[in-house]
Symmetry: none
């Protein structure tokens, strides 16, 4: 039995090695430019090997986005652990930006990229996405219970908030911040977040 376990463990290790390498390449080069060959080369295995762990390129990127969603959910969840609702809301926003900036590849895959969305829906990645979204919506409700956002609809509010952070992050990831050339991108992002938080509190 120990043998089977070891084998399974090794298999998982290989799988995650492929995944993390793919993630890295994907982040650096983008989806279309990342080829199975590139990944294979990077892990110093043959391209054929990858097909032993993933059916095809799609499945690989699918698995990747799942991992992205897992990481995403975990980080958001941590940021939501303690404190007053409004404080948690601010922490959540900061963490969202942080995740996106530190994992632009994952973020792109999960929230911007075209291709893979069709496929999942009803799989684990999707579930985690929904749960992440749930964190925000619940938090909005808690804020309302705490006296904020008088008589506003929680879902609409959640969408509005999410839209803002997503927009800021998307501009950065897809390289459209050049219009604000003279300003430092990070300052721009966190400055805008501060303003947004201020607005939220007053709402």
């Amino acid at each position: 039995m120990g043998i089977a376990e070891r084998k399974e463990r090794e298999r998982q290790e290989m799988r995650s090695m492929i995944l993390s390498t793919a993630a890295q390449l994907f982040i650096e080069e983008g989806f279309e430019k990342t080829s199975i060959r590139n990944i294979a080369e990077a892990i110093e295995y043959s391209p054929a090997t990858i097909y032993l762990y993933f059916k095809d390129k799609n499945e690989l990127f699918h698995a990747l986005s799942e991992e992205g969603f897992r990481k995403f959910f975990t980080e958001l969840n941590e940021a939501n652990q303690s404190g007053k609702p409004m404080d948690r809301m601010k922490r959540l926003g900061k963490q969202y930006l942080k995740f996106a900036i530190e994992n632009p590849g994952y973020y792109d895959l999960m929230f911007i990229m075209k291709a893979p969305m069709e496929s999942h829906h009803n799989d684990e990645g999707w579930d985690l996405g929904m749960k992440s979204h749930g964190i925000l919506t619940s938090l909005v409700k808690e804020c309302i219970d705490d006296g904020y956002f008088k008589s506003k609809d929680a879902k609409l509010l959640s969408f509005m908030i999410w839209s803002f952070v997503h927009g800021a992050v998307s501009f950065k990831i897809r390289d459209r911040m050049k219009m604000y050339e003279e300003l430092d991108q990070d300052e721009l992002m966190s400055g805008a977040l501060d303003y947004f938080n201020e607005m939220l509190e007053k709402l």
Copy 2:
């Protein structure tokens, strides 16, 4: 003379036929997956023909985004013509959403798609992009002069506002609104915009 004119007209028709077909494909498939061959097939001409009208794939993409930026600027500009600053701000937001929803392909091309953003910079498309951005930033300043956004930085504010609308629109265009399944997408968008406007006024 009539002949020359007809020829020129035909040439323009061909050009715009290529452009609109390319637009459609770029939108549906993305930049990398859209090939000159695909476009040629779609218009039922040979690939070589396309090169009679556009130097290469980049130039095609480029021409397309230029057209998008022109349309975009024109529409924003119209929305900014008369009224009190804050009212214009609201109209601008509405128009932005409208443009994106009615021209998802152009919007994608201009603000989302990963592509030769490197290339332009200093061409007409870029200029129009800058001018559109200028409309927003100037308007923010007018609002400030009118007593809003006390002691806030115009550029940061402009970025914050733009981020919000861009985020909302991006979610829609790249099909990430499924998380709010039970609500109608258009209501979601305009509802969120209303909330955002309300926030802005209070800021």
Copy 3:
């Protein structure tokens, strides 16, 4: 009648304009890289126009080599006009080098290039080539009559002489003189020619 003549004259002018442009491009870029399009662009006519004057690319380059041979023959002939045979021999050698260096494109076409040789044979270019060769062989005979090259075969000698100049020139034209990097190419050429002449005289 005057009209017909003018037309014919104009036709010839156009023809030679195409030819000289082709020659130039061909010299600068080589045969394979010189395209009908390039030529057309350079003379600011449409590619189709060239086909009004030359049946196809082959005919064009054929005509070109003919012109080359004409020029070549003329120059050699001039160098052979007066003086003692051995002096003329030296002048001929110098002129050969000069022609090749000043018209590397023509030289290449006529004596190095692979393609077009098949075609002519029994046309004017060929005739002129034979006549040029005739100049050399006759001159060798004159030298013999003058007491040089005791009991040597004129044809063999002529081939030997031609081989030497052709070899030197070919090295230069096809860029194989790098092995003698430290020396100036022109000095190398004329220095070698001097030695060769010295040898010839002693033979």
Copy 4:
């Protein structure tokens, strides 16, 4: 172990099959007209296969010329092994002609063909070319020490000698000996060489 060896052997066989086919085509058609596709067709493999053995067309050409230079150097070197300098000089000339006549393709590739001469320079092919050239120049010096070529410059002499053999050989390879139609080409070549040797001795 046997397996690895067999595989390696097979790989080398494939490589040299590609090389020899390419050589043939390059020779028959020239560099520009020889396409990867042609080569692939000739060996009845897919074009992509060739890229498993050679990075690109240049590298193929390159490998080929390297092989040629190796063979060339080896043969010249052998001819230079023993005997008095002047005798070796004659043997060297004969061997040069022999190499070129027996390996017209390689010779063409190495010394005539227009092609990525730019690329190598500082690689093995180039080194071997330089070493071959070194054989000749050293030998010229030895002849001088032995009392020949009074007060002549070794480099100039070496260039002159090389020019002659190269010229003769080039005429043959590029099919320009037709002007001496009535004589047998081989007799012409060796006859001219004899004369040239005679001249050299007298110099």
